[in-house]
Symmetry: C2
Subunit: 673 residues, 2 copies
């Protein structure tokens, strides 16, 4: 019980730490003149979007809360739902608020203080998001565990927290993804391809929207994504622990400790993340890539030791620790595979395809994306295999859940690196738009390049972790139903299960389609608006006219908010409709089909998009004719298609399956009444 109280307290400490870092960032000068003006424009655009997004989310959350109150006839699950939604929303808000303060300070640091301080500011900017995510999880989930955890009648209410976090995440990811990519595609196509002006050129009316989008999509969207996997994996593992058989308990350790373990690991992970952040700061005078890598590896290694200590201290079998290690290894392998497919030979192959035009770039990129699913999925299969081997009969899913928790425990560190990317990217954009010197741009470019690599790896890692988390949630769902319905299992020969599997397979394709189409349509609108401004605003191209940036931000905002609703409602609503309409077996089948379909599509889209992105960069580095050549134009087409793949539709998949799974877990007790 004492240890249980420590979890939310550690969460509060983590928030305090994040606030301290924010003060640290604010101590750096924020620049002045044009620079400050641009930064303010980005900050305002991001905050306006956030507020409008959250007002829609508030309506959604209210409706769901009322439905939950009606469904459960009690306040426990609805309360947990609201807390989860608020925790996710607050973390996103804080992360984005501070990221849009850190970006211009990074530019100013690069201008006046040099590379090392610039890295520090950018990384602190990302770290605030990382720490907030980790701390919010511990605070929210830890408090609810303290409240409901020991009361069997209400233990299941905790699942509501995951549902709140996941729903907010889906809206943020989809909305943010549509915003960022419609702005990016629109600005690039008219600016770079048609007008022939460089990226982030202040004459381009879409550039501010593009920079706002980086924050909206890659900070707030990514943060809510990781947050929901992080909480989902913990919730599922706790739920699985409650249903372990007496035989399994005898081998593995006391049930109460097995239930508490996910929170304990996450607590250790938060401390290790803070150490990791310290390591990066310490090495900031070195090359940025090396500093970030030292921090990540350092945090992971210390966490492995800490996890062993925690597991031993709780009196749990060391085999459970091996599951943590397997999870971490799988995460690293998936990351390395992602790095290969989005940076190795396949990328050059795609770029060379550009010599025969954009069609070959597309065909090769799609082929690379499809091939890239193989090894990551084999890694997931290996985790399932070893977890079942190591754990007693029937307890394999606990091992899978713990592996996911292990991968996500150092979320403070991994998210810090993820959020560092867009801060560095923004810093470069501000430098370009404010017309600062080449030396400043060189520093920010260096920071940005590192961010791109780590972002790709982080994305692979996120998909792997989300897949395992979803698997654990689905297992928890099956066990939750089985607790109420004797002999319940999901046999594939059952036509209901089979129908569910087909239904589940559809949703990822449908949601991807909605996302892609939203970006396509919004970009189309954006392109026409930017073309109009170039034509109608006198002197815009010559640099004497002023672009109407706000109009472009508004187009992206409206498109994002309008288009994020349907995927969110589909994801939350489909398990309810299938569960109550066709029953718990069909719903279970649906989760199985959706899991396969989501993981495969997520990997394919993320890696194809990453590979196209880097194929374009490879050409821009001067290969195969370099910038402006026909090969470059072909590569730009690939990159543009890859944008909604990797940053809108792809990342939505992780959350989609988790939302579907957690909603099912929440409504499981109602299905069996």
């Amino acid at each position: 019980m004492t240890a249980t109280v420590l979890v939310p307290l550690l969460g509060i400490a983590g928030l305090a730490m994040a606030f301290w870092m924010y003060r640290l960032v604010l101590r750096y000068p924020g620049g002045e003149g044009k620079m400050a003006e641009i930064a303010e424009e980005i900050h305002t655009g991001a905050m306006v979007f956030m507020r409008r997004e959250y007002s829609i989310l508030a309506i959604f959350a209210t409706v769901v809360t009322v439905l939950l109150i009606i469904g459960f006839q009690s306040w426990h699950t609805p309360l947990a739902f609201v807390v989860g939604a608020l925790a996710s929303g607050t973390a996103g808000y804080i992360g984005m608020y501070t990221a849009t303060r850190a970006n211009v300070r990074t530019t100013e640091a690069a201008r006046t203080l040099g590379a090392a301080p610039a890295l520090s500011v950018a990384f602190f900017g990302g770290s605030i998001m990382g720490l907030t995510i980790a701390a919010m999880g511990l605070l929210g989930l830890g408090s609810l565990y303290l409240l409901f955890g020991s009361d069997p009648a209400h233990a299941e209410a905790i699942h509501g927290f995951g549902m709140g976090a996941s729903s907010v995440a889906l809206f943020s990811r989809v909305g943010g993804g549509i915003f960022t990519k419609s702005a990016d595609v629109g600005a690039d196509l008219v600016g770079k391809v048609e007008a022939g002006i460089p990226e982030d050129d202040p004459r381009n009316p879409g550039v501010i929207a593009d920079n706002v989008g980086d924050n909206v999509g890659d900070v707030a969207g990514m943060g809510s994504d990781i947050f929901e996997s992080y909480c989902g994996s913990m919730i599922a593992t706790i739920a699985i622990a409650t249903t372990l058989t007496a035989g399994a308990i005898a081998v593995m350790g006391p049930r109460e400790q097995l239930m508490f373990l996910p929170l304990a690991l996450a607590s250790a992970g938060l401390i290790c993340s803070i150490v990791g952040i310290g390591i990066v700061h310490f090495f900031s005078a070195n090359a940025p890539a090396r500093a970030l890598r030292s921090g990540t590896i350092g945090a992971t290694l210390i966490f492995m030791l800490a996890a062993f200590a925690v597991i031993t201290a709780l009196g749990i079998n060391w085999a459970v620790w091996v599951c943590v290690a397997i999870g971490a290894s799988a995460g690293i392998i998936i990351g390395l595979v992602t790095e290969y497919y989005t940076g190795g030979k396949p990328v050059r192959h795609i770029a060379e395809g550009g010599e025969t035009g954009p069609a070959t770039v597309m065909i090769r990129g799609l082929a690379v994306g499809m091939e890239s699913v193989v090894l990551p999925v084999l890694s997931i299969v290996a985790v399932i295999f070893f977890a079942s081997l190591l754990m007693p009969e029937g307890a394999g899913v606990y091992g899978v859940g713990i592996a996911a928790v292990g991968m996500l425990s150092t979320v403070g560190m991994t998210m810090a690196i993820d959020a560092y990317g867009p801060v560095a990217d923004n810093a470069g954009g501000i430098a370009e738009m404010a017309g600062l010197g080449d030396d400043v741009r060189e520093i920010t470019d260096g920071l940005d390049a590192v961010g791109n690599t780590t972002a790709a790896i982080g994305k692979g890692f996120a998909i792997g972790a989300a897949g395992l988390a979803a698997l654990a949630i689905i297992a928890a769902y099956i066990q939750s139903v089985a607790r109420h319905v004797e002999g319940f299992d999901l046999t594939m020969n059952d036509p209901l299960v089979l129908m569910g599997m087909f239904l589940g397979g559809i949703f990822p394709f449908l949601v991807s389609s909605i996302c892609m189409r939203a970006v396509g349509d919004a970009a189309y609108e954006m392109i026409n608006e930017i073309r109009r401004q170039f034509k109608e605003i006198p002197g815009l191209m010559e640099g004497t006219g002023k672009p109407d940036n706000a109009r472009c931000v508004d187009i992206a905002t409206k498109a994002a908010l309008r288009r994020m609703v349907l995927p969110g409602v589909l994801a939350v609503g489909s398990p309810v409709v299938v569960g109550f309409g066709l029953g718990a077996a069909a719903l279970g089948g649906m989760l199985g089909g959706a899991l396969i379909s989501c993981v495969l599509l997520a990997l394919m889209m993320a890696n194809a998009g990453g590979a196209w992105d880097n194929a374009k960069k490879y050409v821009e580095e001067g290969h195969l004719g370099g910038k402006g050549s026909d090969t470059h134009k072909a590569a730009v087409v690939g990159d543009t298609v890859g944008d909604p793949f990797k940053d809108t539709a792809g990342p939505s998949m992780n959350i989609l399956i988790n939302v579907m799974a957690i909603v099912s877990l929440v409504i499981a007790p109602l299905l069996t009444h």
Copy 2:
């Protein structure tokens, strides 16, 4: 027993009918001069490819036969395998031989006799393939049923026939698909886009290869595809009938008749197909679209009546007939949905995207493809739902199998229309290359346009039927294992099943990737070769030099043969490795995962490809700037990417899942020893 003998006899009669039609086609004049020369070049190219492909297949079949003899320690299954492979190979050979005789006769008929006789020749050319497919199925499967069907010890050997047919189909489909699209993409990109010469221009060295490809891919490949679904659905339904419970039998009818029903329906279907072919011939003086539609609808309606008569005559419950009707309805719905996505509003939306460049075309096309999976999969779900509702408890899969058999029974007619397409396409190509007048081209263009629409619908129909067939085979696999292992079922909570599901999900992506990459690489080689010829052969562009067509045919042939091996080995080998390595439960899970993944990818790729194709045609009709505009160039990129999607990777998916399922069914008895 008497009725059983009729099945192979009817098969022989069908072959005789096909031979008679061949004589009919040969009676039409074959043209002379340049026309005959070009036709001979296409015929030779196709036959050389076929012979080289079949020598590789012979090696593969020999190895598999030896392995089957070792595994089964008996000659029954190996014999059935060889018969299945030979039946598929023979049907493909006959179909392609005659199609490459009918093409030039269609051109000549259009030139000298007019539109109606041209339609007749082209359609007879396709009908030979249709009848051969149907007849070979009845002859081969009917004979084996006569031999083994009544002997419980060897009844399972019949499954070998399906394995033979499916393996040949996969190689033919993948090899043919790679051939046709590498030639098509190569010829189009250099000819139409770079050199600015029309399609099928004789100066283009890739054009003969392109026309050979139409036969290799769309006649032989498509034929073997439909053949394997046709046989697979019958085999699975027979197998399911043997395991029906006594309770189900009491409601549904005598087991012997339920086993015989698939063959009886297919026999009735062959006769109805011949009637349908007659209807088309009768209406050939009308517009081609109307003639073809009258034939299809006529054949289907007569078949529905015949099916009712057969089911009543066999003393089977009329509810089984409702399953046939549901299958047919689902087929029609899937066809209509396909027509909408590849011809309706989505196509115009994609074309309009071309105004902002190729990237928007790509994004919108991918979105359309992803969305298009929803309704067809819902139709499959509806078939499962109603079949389970109509059949007694546990016999739902028999209803699903019968629905698939019902969809495929009029294969003679549907395949005739499918194979008519490439004959008409070739006829147009020959007219263009031989420099015949606009009036000839107008007739062949009319025939070709109808072919394109029917091909798209046929593709959707084929995917639906293949999906249901695979489902039935998987059900038969589960029951076959359950017969040997008491209490065997596939529960999704079982880690082995879950691992299998993930593994199964991978293969469709991997095989698609191999197909896409093969086309991308071969097209790249082809493009460079065509560019080289345009540069190095003096007077080629002016029409005084002669292109080296054979060199291009050779490039496509080599690429196709080299690249078809891996997918084939993967498909046949993976169930064996997983089945013997991880056991029957993991293999069952793998089939489930592969089924979902295959059906979704197949629909997405087929429909995205079809939509891009028609978006390009929409622009070429003069919309949005018409031919030569930037919008057109953007649309051509979409069409080019769509080519391997819809004609190489997409269609391979149907067969892939069927190969995996039927191999599993064949090895099921070995897994449980």
